[in-house]
């Protein structure tokens, strides 16, 4: 075990983590920080996979206020308005900052070009073809390499446990080196969680598998508060390719934006019926429910999807504007000019998460959170293009704030809740334990069972009975977990990694279900069969959920239901905007 001391630790090497690091080094040249990433820095996480683009109100006829309005309407008004206004106001400046760091976005006639994404009144999604994520993450990393003296990179290392002092403040983290199979004990003044969410909890999913709610689980164990965990976004068009890891990969929204149509097995363009005004450009929640219904009511394809029809689009436009999509479709041996693509909603993003204020502070002293780990920005439905914007805007901000907090904290904490040696020994023992089991199920099997349970009982469509049985099954999986069998040794052991993943995913799964049981209505991504209507009278509220620091078990979960404060805009004010954005037509039920 190696002991390290530093000002600040950032967990996560996606856009949020990279931006937090860049934000921090901007504050002072005396800041020293450690960037820990479970995958390769900049090459792991969802940020790398961003295809669509980055929302920023750059054009003359657009404004941060319109961006705010679109975001609140899409989020069905349970977003935290102070966070959304920060996002909308700072996004344009962040685009400028990114360009100064060498991330260049597509241009037309010299000006930055933007796409039209669902649910937006203006075309505001800035992009670099359909590989915006590669552009952003690789340039952020290039930039960070210049600060080698201030930043220590620990790649392929995963955070296992936060260190807390006697009063519960976070004072470091224990990290497992995946390659070497050894531990680092890092003492720090502040810790920033940027590990992305856990939308990989479902059978059909888009994000990289290493995102397993680790940051959320760390925060949960430490006693942090969570907000609206029931809000899990499904992207309407995930590719259906059974038996492969390509299953659930996203077909970019922009292709619907330029005329891609959805058809059911009877050849009907069902979105004309469901949402005559917006059709395929409706919000993601609307499309997801509509597709789910078509399949459930027997109008789906053989593999349980619907068709995406790109046949009327120009071949060179797809090839030129969406080269990655073209590649993916070709890899499957399809020709978009003659073949239809099979699609079904795929788990994509977690809108709920660790509760933060606009400075990224969590309810725990010394602990910050940013990006998909944090909740509150997107409400009940995230707009395409607001995810990477969230990670960059808040990444820079939170990195700066955390660095200032670290500077103001004069000394490293030394009075820990438990002796550090004891904590490390406990962890070492735990890591060894699955190797001692002579036989048993393997962790991949556990993960598969968990995913199936979540998809069937707590996924796109939910009801009370189903969710209660899911909770029971989760308890079973928790019992199985210590009996899992692994072989080999600690270093670069993928099965061991999955075993640790499952442990965290089980926590996040139960937080999602507990919140979802509480919200007795349907809103955005949260669709309850037993409460199919949106209920503004009772539920313009956030669900806050947490466990006290010293409590071990999650059946002692605490919950609070807090009315939203409409500091910028309320649902009533939307009515005055009717001419711009007609209300959604109701789904046929």
């Amino acid at each position: 075990m190696e002991t390290l001391k530093t000002n600040m630790v950032i967990l996560g090497g996606g856009a949020a983590g990279l931006c937090a690091a860049l934000g921090a080094v901007q504050v002072s040249s005396s800041i020293r920080l450690i960037l820990v990433s479970k995958g390769l820095i900049g090459k792991s996480g969802s940020s790398r996979m961003v295809q669509g683009g980055f929302n920023a109100a750059l054009k003359g006829d657009d404004s941060w206020k319109l961006h705010l309005e679109d975001t609140l309407i899409s989020g069905e008004f349970i977003n935290r308005q102070d966070l959304v206004s920060t996002l909308a106001k700072e996004a344009p400046r962040c685009i400028e900052q990114l360009e100064n760091w060498g991330c260049f976005f597509d241009r037309k006639e010299g000006n930055i070009h933007s796409k039209t994404f669902g649910g937006q009144t203006k075309s505001r999604t800035v992009h670099r073809k359909d590989f915006t994520g590669i552009e952003v993450t690789s340039k952020l990393f290039d930039q960070l390499l210049a600060f080698e003296e201030q930043v220590l990179f620990l790649q392929e290392c995963r955070a296992l446990q936060l260190l807390q002092n006697e009063s519960g403040a976070v004072a470091g983290v224990i990290v497992f080196d995946i390659r070497k199979g050894t531990l680092y004990l890092i003492q720090a003044k502040v810790v920033v969680l940027a590990t992305g969410g856990a939308a990989t909890l479902f059978s059909v999913k888009a994000p990289p598998m290493e995102k397993s709610g680790d940051g959320m689980a760390l925060a949960y164990r430490a006693g942090a508060q969570f907000v609206d965990m029931e809000m899990v976004q499904f992207h309407p068009t995930g590719l259906v390719v059974p038996g492969t890891l390509l299953n659930g990969s996203v077909v970019e929204e922009g292709l619907r934006g330029i005329g891609g149509k959805l058809l059911n097995s009877q050849g009907e363009r069902f979105m004309e019926r469901v949402s005559p005004n917006h059709k395929e450009c409706a919000n993601r929640d609307v499309l997801t429910r509509a597709i789910y219904r078509e399949v459930k009511e027997g109008r789906g394809t053989e593999n349980g999807g619907v068709w995406l029809d790109l046949r009327e689009l120009k071949e060179d436009v797809i090839k030129d504007e969406f080269p990655n999509m073209w590649k993916r479709i070709s890899l499957l041996g399809k020709d978009p000019k003659s073949d239809l693509l099979e699609v079904f909603p795929t788990a994509h993003y977690m809108m709920g998460g660790i509760r933060i204020n606009p400075y990224g502070q969590t309810s725990i002293s010394g602990l910050f959170s940013v990006g998909e780990d944090a909740g509150g920005v997107h409400g009940a439905n995230r707009l395409g293009g607001n995810g990477i914007a969230d990670s960059v805007v808040f990444g820079l901000r939170v990195g700066q704030n955390a660095a200032i907090a670290a500077i103001n904290e004069s000394e490293l904490q030394r009075n820990f809740q438990l002796s550090l040696e004891k904590q490390c020994n406990q962890l070492k023992k735990k890591l060894q334990s699955p190797f001692l089991n002579e036989k048993g199920v393997n962790p991949f099997y556990l993960r598969k069972k968990l995913e199936e349970t979540m998809s069937q009982l707590a996924g796109i469509c939910r009801n009370e009975q189903g969710m209660i049985s899911a909770l029971h099954f989760i308890e079973k999986l928790k019992e199985w977990h210590p009996r899992t069998y692994i072989n080999g040794n600690l270093s670069y052991n993928l099965a061991l990694q999955e075993w640790l993943n499952v442990e965290n995913l089980l926590i996040v799964a139960s937080l999602i279900i507990h919140s979802a049981l509480l919200r007795r209505e349907s809103r955005g991504a949260h669709w309850r069969e037993d409460y199919p209507e949106k209920n503004d009278r009772d539920w313009l509220s956030n669900i806050v959920i947490f466990k006290e620091r010293d409590q071990e078990e999650d059946h002692q979960l605490k919950t609070k239901i807090e009315p939203v404060s409409f500091t910028m805009m309320s649902p009533e004010t939307v009515n005055s905007r009717k001419s711009i954005l007609p209300p959604e037509t109701k789904l046929r039920s």
Binding site: G39, R48, F131, I134, D142, V241, T244, S249, N442, N489
Partner: protein, 236 residues
Amino acid sequence: MKAYNNDLIAGGGINLVDVKIRRFHPGKDQHPYYSWFRVESAANQTVLDILTVILQEHELSLSFRFSCRTGLCGSCGMIINDEEKLACQTLANTLGQEITLEPLKNYPLIKDLTVDLTTSYSKYKKIAPAFAKNHDGSISGISRYLKHFPCLHCGLCYSKCKVVAIQPSFLGPISLHQMYVLEDLGKNPFSNYRKQMATHEGGIFDCMSFGCCGAVCPQSINPMESIHHLQHKWKK
């Protein structure tokens, strides 16, 4: 002789492939060895799918790296039947009955198919890879830049490069391509420094122009061409 590490008997009509994987855990294993697996391969399955099946059902201790599974992150590079490829972008049914998987070359081995891709960053850092605007704030080459696909840092070209293999000081295709991209954006504050790096030992004049780098690049980048541009620009 093939000694299979699993037993799968041919069923009617199912496509079976033999997968041969190079195994080695430095510091633990005495010698590298090969493991053989016989697995079913369905249509549309990639090499990454097959590796995942082997890991999850037959060999829990097998090691390889992946993240995005859609050709974007550049983590799953390996040598597949003697050619550098991304596992997630290579369909198994294009490879015949026998698939041989080996780790990328020119990188230190971590375990089995996993190499330490980050080692090329020590060279990458040497070229001052961060973008810095011109002194007058302008960027001239942006439209040319936007035509290119971005480099994934997948390391396929670096593994393929014969000069990297024999001359450790050679900066290699990834770094030199990045140097070209930055230079092509217009003259910038690091230009002189980069010129020095490029024309020094291990720089652009050490490239032997075999062109293997471009041949394996999943992004259709041709680092050799980038190096030629720099050679032209900074003629000896």
